[in-house]
Chain length 199, copies 2
């Protein structure tokens, strides 16, 4: 695990590398056994460091978990011209691509652990509400902006979970563009102001 | 736990009750700690029976899991006049109501455990494919019937998970009818034959 670059680094850079290695090990362990069953001891073993190093860098298991699953949904950066409806494809593409790139990404680990741990569910609930629903809803016109933003998020998580985590064959075995072509219009309709409320 | 009716039952009825009690205990334990970490010993303790009784009734942990999370999606019964698009509200309402009625239902436990266990993911994948996607897709007109059916399922699971398991406040705190009003048209569009393919 020790590269030439690592050997060349000073004490601060070595500390950063150890921190990063512990965070990566934590994501693997939390993702595998869930929040409640993961132990600092198991994470230390996975990272090839002493248990005391984990405590020194992160304090408690709860604090380590929070750092390990911290991620930026980047809703503002993905929102084109301040228009969430026009950004539907951006949102869904980003979520599907990030997840496919790393099944142990902070977002993926948080979602997987959230279904078997109230601690993780609470973190995800709060994060999605403040980082996605709040940011999208305040830009929506028409009734029920918060509910429409929340539904859009739930739908994108559902598609991502089935393609990337459960790997349902009919979703995992098709090109990304086919999914975007069929699913983007649905999310766009949800986020666009209703043109004909009586429809 | 022993009712008058239970005391009055013969040996066969007592056996059925014990079986049911073990299955209920199994769902609670699997739902709480996941498939991999659940033990026959812990399930026996939760059900207040001997470990040997669990083995006698169900054989292995794997067989017990399969029975504990067996459920019928009832896609055929929920499909109105053989038309999946017209049945979109039925599908979504049934899923949301069943989950709300029992967070330890077989379907809920299977979904929760599926994100941290390949054994559970494989069961869910196969069940959703044969019981939902196959049954809906063969009734769809137009291109990509399997992908459209799979997306509809993933979307419904996403909404149900966020409302009933994660309890995202903006989804958990609204009446069921508000969710159906906004989400049903999206699923209907996905399942209806495309009227204007160039749109």
């Amino acid at each position: 695990m020790t590269s030439a670059a690592e050997q060349a680094g000073g004490p601060e850079r070595k500390g950063e590398r150890t921190r990063r290695r512990i965070l990566q090990a934590a994501r693997r362990v939390f993702g595998r056994v869930g929040y409640d069953r993961a132990t600092v001891r198991a994470i230390a073993a996975e990272a090839h460091v002493d248990k005391s190093s984990v405590i020194q860098y992160f304090g408690t298991k709860q604090q380590l978990f929070r750092e390990a699953v911290a991620f930026d949904l980047e809703v503002d950066a993905l929102t084109v011209g301040g228009d969430p409806a026009a950004s539907a494809e951006n949102y869904l593409r980003a979520m599907l691509q990030r997840w496919a790139a790393d099944p142990d990404s902070p977002m993926a680990v948080l979602l997987r652990t959230s279904l078997t741990s109230e601690e993780a569910a609470e973190l995800l609930r709060r994060h999605v509400t403040t980082e996605a629903i709040d940011r999208i809803a305040r830009r929506l016109e028409g009734p029920d902006p918060r509910l429409r933003a929340a539904l859009a998020g739930a739908i994108m998580f559902g598609i991502t979970t089935h393609r990337c985590v459960l790997r349902t064959p009919d979703l995992a075995g098709v090109p990304l563009e086919d999914i975007l072509r069929l699913a983007t219009p649905l999310i766009r309709v949800l986020l666009a102001p209703p043109e004909n409320p009586s429809a």
